[in-house]
Structure formats: structure tokens, C-alpha cells
Amino acid sequence: MSTLKTNAILRPADDRVYFRKSGAIVQAKRAAYYTSEYNNTSQNSLYDMPGNLGDGSASITPYFSNSRILFTAVLHPGCETTWRANFFRTYYKIGSGSWTQFAGGFGSTLYCNTDGVARTLKSTYMLGTLNTTSAVYFKIQQIGHQSGGYLHLNLNSTSGSGSGNQGSVASTIFLQEVAQ
């Protein structure tokens, strides 16, 4: 089998770019958490998110050491009367190294005089070059507001139930490698 190496592929005649290594998304990974999670001790206390959102198993292994990673979180916080304010911190680590917090944090505020409402929360952040081709792991931590900070992840109900995932939502982490 022959191999052709190039950093760009141009269209005939006008040289419009078909493909260019710099800036291209060269791979994508996903970690999802399907279970509903209720935490009533997270008011002003920091916790790892449940499952692979917070256990460090979400990972991507860059093909190129100078790539950047585009981090996207999609979470589904629910609410019970009267309000919930949740904040999320984002971390990465390279291989067996230490966790490093990056500026991908995000937040959710919900207020409703009944139970069961929810919102879908998406947040994206592009990390700088990590100078590695080793596996890069990601996790999210959550901390609640001191007066209304319970977590109701993946909990939603049209009838006001505090324990259902009627909408079949899954909270996820998406990781994309962006070549440079």
C-alpha cells in the first residue's frame, strides 16, 4: 500500500482548500452518563461529577503533539422548588499526571415554583496546545450555591416528579482534536 503525505489538498483550477491540516478536526470522542443523579450535599461543597463525567475516564489521544482540544460539555440539570444554582469546573490531565483546571467552567440557574423542570446546558472551550501524544483525560466537578445548590442531573418530569428522566436525556462530554 502506498502512502501520500501532505499538509493540504487543493481543488483543481482555483486552489480552494479541500483539506488543510492546520485547523482541521481530526478526531472526536464522546463520554456519556445516562443515569439520574441527585446530590443534596453539594451546597458550597465540591464533588466530582458522577460516572465518566467525573471519574477521569473521558479521554482523547492526540495524533499530533501540537494539537488543541475542543472541549464541549452538555449537561441536563433539573430543578425542584424553588431554585437551583449549580457551577461546574473543568479539568484535564496528561497520562498519569496531575489534574489541571482550565477555563472551561460553566453554570446553571433554575427557578420554578414546582418540581420537575430542567434545562439543557452546553458549554465549549478550546484548550491550548498540550504538547503531548499521550492520552489526555478530562473530568467535571460540581459545586452548588450555598443556599440552593442541590444537583438534579438528568432529572426531568412533566408531572413534577423529582425522580424521573422522562425526556431520556444523557449528559455528555465531547472531545475534538483540532490540528495546528
Binding site: M1, L4, T6, I9, R11, P12, R16, V17, Y18, F19, R20, S22, G23, A24, I25, Q43, N44, R68, L70, T82, W83, A85, F87, F88, R89, T90, Q101, F102, A103, G104, G105, F106, G107, S108, T109, Y111, L121, K122, S123, T124, Y125, M126, I143, G144, H145, Q146, S147, G148, G149, V178
Partner: protein, 208 residues
């Protein structure tokens, strides 16, 4: 120099495209972040430039003519007692925009003559159908935050070269302040406790 001219690039089996010659392929990504806390208490029903790279037009991407840009805005809005409702507009200089063109001219905002956004920064036909909104309500508490994230696909770019983007914010007439990137589990009104950074992410999308 040798030259290889192709119409498509596939894997060995020929059943998977590995080039970006298909319409809709993303061929580059750029990101611009603003990580400071920004408060503005004078935006009630008044359109104002967002701070730093979010609003000064320096968020940019180099594109080929005809391609489109997938624009993702990720804005973290802090909350102070009782509520905050903010609306965002997106401007560009990549081409004519047949939707919403010049809307600010006929805007029903009642402070048209007091905008801090000058006319050169929002010329005719530069307003995209690319706005977003955020709302947070907690009675008697501070420090909440809501992340607003929305994505738009621009019309085709008129010309090859740099395309710039800028965001403005307009506050609700009664709950109007903006507290960008402010968040605190203890109710602080001046803390970015959890390392929020608001951003504009630009992706060039191939359109032949």
C-alpha cells in the same frame, strides 16, 4: 514541483471520504476567549459593545470566498438579586446579510441615540440572525450564573480573506445589568470562582 490533482480522497476501501471536498465539511477552527469579570450597569434597553475580544471585532477567521462560518457563542452570565435578562447580537463583515439587515436602525429600543456602539462598528447589512439570550432568577440571592450557548451558520462569505465578528449586549429594561463570568457558590458579586471564560468559536465550513 510535482502536482497531484484529485476530485476526492478516500480510504483504501474507497467507501469513506478523508478529504473535505464534501459540502459542509469543517476545514478550520478558531477560538477567542474573555476570562475577566465584566460588569455594566448601564445597558437597560441600550445596546452596548461586549468587552475585549468578544466585542471589539478582533475575533476573526481567514476564509475562502463562498465558504460559510459556523459561529458558536458561549457566554456565561452572572446573576445578582433578583434577576438578569440579557440579549446579544452578532455582527460580521463577511458579506451582505439578507436577514435582519439594518434592524438596529428601526429598532424599538428607546435609547437609539445613546448606544455606546458606534455606527462604523455596526454598518448596514452586518447584523446576523445570530443573536442569543440569557436569563437568571434567584430571589434574595447573588452569585448564580447561566451559560448561554448558541450556534449559527452564516451566509456564504463574499470574498476570500479575514472575516471579523463582534457581539453586543442589550439588557432588559428592568433587569438589565450584565455580570459576565461572575459566579460564586457563596453569593459573591465579584468572583469567578469556577474559572468561566466566555468565548466565540469560529469554524470555516466548505461550500463549493
Amino acid at each position: 514541483m510535482s502536482e497531484v490533482v484529485v476530485s476526492k480522497v478516500t480510504n483504501v476501501a474507497g467507501d469513506y471520504f478523508i478529504d473535505s471536498s464534501q459540502p459542509g465539511s469543517i476545514i478550520q477552527v478558531q477560538a477567542y476567549d474573555y476570562g475577566s469579570i465584566y460588569n455594566n450597569t448601564n445597558i437597560a434597553n441600550k445596546e452596548c459593545q461586549m468587552p475585549g475580544v468578544l466585542g471589539d471585532g478582533s475575533a476573526k477567521i481567514e476564509v475562502e470566498a463562498g465558504n460559510r462560518i459556523l459561529v458558536e457563542c458561549n457566554i456565561h452570565n452572572g446573576q445578582h438579586d433578583t434577576w438578569r435578562g440579557n440579549f446579544f447580537r452578532m455582527y460580521w463583515n463577511g458579506g451582505k446579510n439578507d436577514a435582519g439587515a439594518g434592524e438596529y436602525v428601526t429598532s424599538n429600543l428607546n435609547n437609539n441615540d445613546a448606544y455606546s456602539v458606534s455606527n462604523p462598528e455596526r454598518p448596514q447589512n452586518s447584523l446576523l440572525w445570530g443573536g442569543g439570550a440569557s436569563f437568571s432568577y434567584i430571589s434574595g440571592q447573588n452569585g448564580g450564573a447561566s451559560t448561554a450557548n448558541w450556534t449559527i451558520l452564516t451566509p456564504p462569505c463574499d470574498n476570500a480573506g479575514t472575516v471579523n465578528f463582534s457581539l453586543t449586549v442589550t439588557g432588559h429594561d428592568n433587569g438589565n445589568y450584565i455580570h459576565l463570568n461572575n459566579n460564586s457558590s457563596t453569593g459573591s458579586t465579584g468572583s469567578n470562582q469556577n474559572n468561566f471564560s466566555s468565548s466565540i468559536i469560529l469554524k470555516e465550513v466548505y461550500y463549493p
